[in-house]
Amino acid sequence: MSGGSARSLAKGSAPPGPVPEGLIRVYSMRFCPFAQRTLLVLKAKGIRHEIININLKNKPEWFFKKNPFGLVPVLENSQGQLIYESAITCEYLDEAYPGKKLLPDDPYEKAYQKMVFELFSKIPSLVASFLRRQNEEDCSGLKEELQKEFSKLEEVLTNKKTTFFGGNSVSMIDYLIWPWFERLEVLELNDCADHTPKLKLWMAAMREDSAVSALLTEPKVLRGFLSLYLENSPEACDYGL
């Protein structure tokens, strides 16, 4: 499995060749939380894959042929089929590959995971807004909103009485929401979870998961990336290499 630590491809780069049989390719970026979802599923299911990192501040022209929206993650298989939107890529991998099923077989339990995913849906944009905040007023308003969203997730764990969002072992929904919780520390938002003890326990339990821990990024590298990214630097995506 190659490419996780490869330099990103930018404008003027040659388009990659077809994907060899027996492998699936993911177009990614080392610090993108959406792409991290897909990488987590690839890891958790032991799927042989190659990674091509994309410079999101200086995108190669050919990348828009892979995804007209020009976003990562994108999956490409050896039949040339392209799948994008992180949640869709994750579900595709779970259906197309054998081994441990991350989504439940039971239709209701599967629907329940998707309802929890909806409950989570405001968090990515809140975190993104927080990153771009201009002043202290924005800061406290956003933190309050984030706490509200965390309370909804706390309620789920309280009602289910399980460690993870899908039961007593890690499953798809946990992987889908994890990347934003990994970033709380670096964003100094950990205190937003102070009043949601079960969520805190979940975060600790997630760090013990083998896929999660294999893909953890060092906080100082994440910080380095973030400052360059917020300045729109084309070097951001390769920070730390």
Partner: protein, 243 residues
């Protein structure tokens, strides 16, 4: 139609548990999101009962079915509640036998879900056009934006060279799109489909589908509902029901 019942409002009795062998949908006769789920129930021949909710005067008990009182919501005989129209539709496809509306192939399934992402601006834009027109405001920009979204869908059909969005047979994605296209005429924005031959062909083909036909809402009844709705009349939701 199974859903020709009066909408329940504040002060109404909460319904009892759902009998075994049946699934219940909390709905509203003119809601496009609930329409999606009713199409799937019909297409798969699933025995169901409909409880219509007065959306301007929601029963207190309804918030125990959905935290924000939205529709549609499915409730089964095990008291399990499923909401978000797309989640409800997928649940029905998974849980019930008979013809599968989503493809079996994982890539084809993913394709339908990617297509749904392309559609996400349409509900908001059609509603904004409706509101603007009803309030006597101009909506040229909104219609242009809607046409742009339709152009993307037109391009897909052109590229695929198939009648329906999932191939040559009607499938889930068509049912998920349909309710908004059915409403273009009664909302007064049917001209947004001008010069889009593939979409017009698709619309015509959809109107031939027995499921779509069975649930087609009479134009005059819909207009009657819209008139009352925009006058804030709480009886709007029951317009057209026999007294």
């Amino acid at each position: 139609m199974e859903d020709a019942t009066r909408a329940l409002g504040k002060g109404s009795q909460p319904p009892g548990p759902v009998p075994e062998g049946l699934i219940r949908i909390y709905s509203m006769r003119f809601c496009p999101y609930a329409h999606r789920t009713r199409l799937v129930l019909r297409a798969k021949g699933i025995r169901h009962e409909v409880i219509n909710i007065n959306l301007r005067n929601k029963p207190e008990w309804y918030y125990t079915k959905h935290p924000f009182g939205q529709i549609p919501v499915l409730e089964n005989s095990k008291c399990q509640l499923i909401y978000e129209s797309v989640i409800a539709c997928e649940y029905l496809d998974d849980a019930y036998p008979g013809r599968k509306l989503y493809p079996y192939d994982p890539y084809e399934r993913a394709r339908q879900k990617m297509l749904l992402e392309l559609f996400y601006k349409v509900p908001h834009l059609t509603k904004e056009c409706l509101v603007a027109l009803r309030c006597g405001r101009e909506c040229g920009d909104l219609k242009l934006a809607l046409r742009q979204e339709f152009c993307n869908l037109e391009e897909i059909l052109g590229y695929q060279n198939t009648i329906f969005f999932g191939g040559d047979r009607i499938s889930m994605i068509d049912y998920l799109f349909w309710p908004w296209f059915e409403r273009l005429d009664v909302y007064g924005i049917a001209d947004c489909l001008n010069h889009m031959p593939a979409l017009r062909l698709w619309t015509a083909a959809m109107k031939q589908d027995p499921t779509v036909c069975a649930l087609l809402i009479d134009k005059n009844i819909f207009l009657g509902f819209l008139n009352l709705y925009f006058q804030n009349n709480p009886d709007a939701f029951d317009y057209g029901l026999p007294c």
